[in-house]
């Protein structure tokens, strides 16, 4: 470069190695960035997975239960009311006493013994009796869930000398194990139960169906409203100060923190309109408010991405503007609209803050059957469990996160497949 008369090719050749190095360096930065991001992702999923895998199994204890007529149905009338309010805890206690006759003499030992099995054992026996009252008077082997602390111990999450168990309790457990009365089974309760204070009985079905009803409400409200609003704004509205104002506001709404929508829902849907607290219907309405701007923006972008030549072709043939839009622009924009909607729904699925505001954070045991039943939602359930002191809830929390992530992955994958399947080229 010092000699201005130097031939350009010499200068270019001299600069080539430097440019190649710069390019190689730049690529390396990119690969490093992707590598680091992937590393964090694997770390995250790995950590959650490692913790959540324990929730897949649950320890159960075999009891030889005698369904004593004198305890369950003294009158012998097989009245469902009597059967469902009977003292099943006594039946459980008697069954444990059969295994450890020496332990039932002292009241304290009896209590310690009862701590080994879940409170849910009594519910399980009641379910058996109500399903088939003929079991009364018979003795049969029943596998009942172990207490969550026992479960943790058997999974190795708690050390034997942690002080959570007395020497006696440990010896009883050893005996149960030696007699083949302890097994580890697939934890179907996690997928078929609602929430519970007892970790071994807690399940996510209630949260899943709450989320389902909320998302359906959200979709039914926000999709037609959003698409219609976007079509009007993009295809028919005149460009003036008012539509500019609307557009700016929609863009701003998309950036509003979701808790603000929750407050709005609390004030309007619960306060003003007096709708039911904790209902997925209201949750869905709030999520719809939140998703609406996203759907409008995505739909407008998809409509705008359809080449104007297609619309001109239709209009040049004498199609009305509505026909050109319905027959050509909208179908071509549909994959984009659906992709955006699914991604919006996925965002709504993971949303917690607005649901807290409208009371969906309550402790609800029953699985909701409709959008008006009180319910929680998946992120709410995670939040509640993460906050619970029982150690066994840690693995439930992780498992619930995995379930939530699985739903999100399925939804996003659907979006990708839709885009890939219906993408048209012109």
């Amino acid at each position: 470069m010092t000699d201005p008369r130097q031939s350009p090719s010499v200068a270019i050749l001299a600069s080539l190695p430097r440019r190649r190095r710069a390019e190689a360096r730049f690529r390396l930065y990119g690969i490093a960035a992707i590598g680091i991001a992937l590393g964090f992702l694997i770390l995250l999923i790995g950590a959650i997975g490692a913790q959540g895998v324990g929730a897949v199994t649950q320890a159960e204890i075999a009891l030889d239960v005698t369904f004593e007529q004198s305890v369950l149905d003294p009158s012998g009338g097989r009245d469902p009311e009597t059967l469902s309010t009977a003292n099943y805890r006594a039946v459980v206690r008697a069954a444990l006493g059969d295994i450890f006759p020496e332990a039932v003499r002292k009241r304290r030992d009896r209590r310690r013994l009862m701590e080994l099995v879940s409170v849910g054992a009594a519910f399980e026996l009641r379910r058996l009796v109500l399903e088939d009252p003929a079991v009364i008077g018979r003795t049969m082997r029943v596998w009942v869930p172990a207490d969550d602390e026992v479960d943790m111990l058997l999974k190795g999450a708690t050390a034997r000398d942690s002080g959570r168990f007395t020497e006696k309790q440990l010896s009883w457990l050893d005996r149960l194990e030696a007699e083949g009365r302890i097994r580890s089974t697939f934890n179907w309760r996690f997928f078929s139960n609602g929430d519970s204070r007892e970790p071994e009985l807690a399940g996510i079905l209630g949260a899943i169906s709450g989320s389902f009803f909320a998302l359906m409400t959200c979709l039914v409200l926000s999709f037609p409203l959003g698409v219609m609003a976007a079509i009007y704004l993009e295809e028919f509205a005149p460009r003036n100060r008012w539509t500019d104002l609307i557009e700016i506001n929609i863009n701003n709404l998309a950036a509003v923190p979701s808790i603000v929508f929750g407050l709005l829902g609390l004030a309007v849907f619960l306060g003003l309109m007096g709708l039911a607290r904790s209902a997925p219907l209201v949750g869905g309405m709030v999520l719809a408010l939140m998703t609406l701007p996203t759907i409008i923006i995505v739909t407008r972008a998809s409509l705008g991405a359809v080449p104007p030549s297609i619309r001109e072709a239709a209009i040049g043939l004498g199609a009305s503007r509505v026909q050109a839009m319905l027959h050509h622009t909208l179908p071509l924009a549909m994959p984009g609209i659906m992709t955006g909607t699914i991604i919006g729904m996925a965002r709504a699925l993971g949303e917690l803050a607005p649901l807290i505001m409208i009371g969906m954070v309550a402790f609800i045991v029953d699985v909701p059957q409709g959008p008006l039943d009180p319910a929680s939602a998946l992120p709410v359930q995670i939040y509640i469990w993460a906050d619970s002191p029982e150690r066994a809830f840690a693995e439930k929390t992780a498992a619930a996160i995995i379930v939530l992530l699985a739903f999100l992955i399925v939804m996003n994958l659907t979006a990708v497949i839709l885009r890939w399947r219906f993408e048209r080229r012109w």
Partner: protein, 259 residues
């Protein structure tokens, strides 16, 4: 109206047409008659207003929000800018072929059938098949596509796509066909086919074609209108315009000194 070629009947008349894009004066006081069953070529350098004028004739400029059209344009004596005019009916009578081939991303059949379908021109599936076949035939595309009518139109070559667009336009059986530089994105062979087609189509249709190729204007048109900077400079029989232009600007353009 049943015309035989050669009758000098005026199909479209434009009087005092002014077009503004916001404040830009794109067309100035244009008076032009377009005769039935002739090919009228609109020529001129880029930005001269020829495409703008063409789009006034079927009111495609209505789609452009900032565009304002003044003046009087009549189709068979009826004012097409009358508020009572139905745009759907107007555009069914005046078809259009665009600069870039713009088939719908559907099948070849559906492309041609779309116009007749929305206007209710076919009473049965058989009718529609007939319209599609005859339109493709008249556009000179039938032989190439008759075995793959259900294939996507976007898979055709550029020249085939443009002929498909012509078939799509004539399927509605318009009276006038407007063509906006129909060959500008095509190679010479495809161009020659389209030009031959235009020549044939004037038997049945009145054709207005915008072109920036003077050779093309000379080959296909009977009358030529030369636009320059928004003015209609000169209009006359194509032979006269190209051999004995009256205005010095026309002469400068066709001899290649401006444009």
């Amino acid at each position: 109206m049943d015309m035989t070629p050669g009758d000098l009947v005026t199909k479209l008349t434009a009087r005092g047409v002014n077009v503004f894009y916001d404040d830009a004066h794109a067309l100035k006081q244009v008076d032009l008659d377009i005769r039935a069953h002739e090919v009228t070529a609109l020529i001129g350098p880029s930005g001269c207003g020829k495409s703008t004028f063409l789009r006034c004739l079927n009111r495609m400029n209505d789609l452009i929000e900032i565009c304002r059209v003044e003046g009087d344009i009549r189709l068979d004596g009826e004012d097409i800018y009358d508020p009572a005019v139905d745009l759907v009916y107007l555009r069914a009578r005046i078809g259009m072929v665009f600069q870039k081939p713009n088939p719908f991303p559907k099948s070849i059949y559906d492309n041609v059938a779309y116009g007749p379908k929305i206007h209710g021109l076919a009473r049965s599936r058989g009718d529609m098949d007939e319209i599609v076949a005859s339109s493709l035939e008249r556009a000179g595309l039938w032989e190439e596509v008759k075995d793959r009518l259900e294939a996507p139109a976007t898979g055709l070559s550029g020249g085939q796509q443009q002929r498909l667009c012509i078939a799509r336009a004539i399927a509605v059986r318009p009276e006038v066909i407007l063509m906006d530089e129909p060959c500008s994105s095509l190679d010479p062979i495809a161009t020659a086919r389209i030009e031959a087609l235009i020549d044939e189509l004037k038997q049945n249709f009145t054709i207005v074609v915008v072109t920036h190729s003077m050779q093309q204007a000379a080959r296909v048109s009977q009358r030529t209108a030369f636009f320059h900077l928004g003015d209609l400079v000169e209009v006359g029989d194509t032979d006269t315009v190209f051999t004995k232009p009256v205005d010095p600007r026309t002469e400068a353009y066709i001899s290649g000194r401006i444009g």
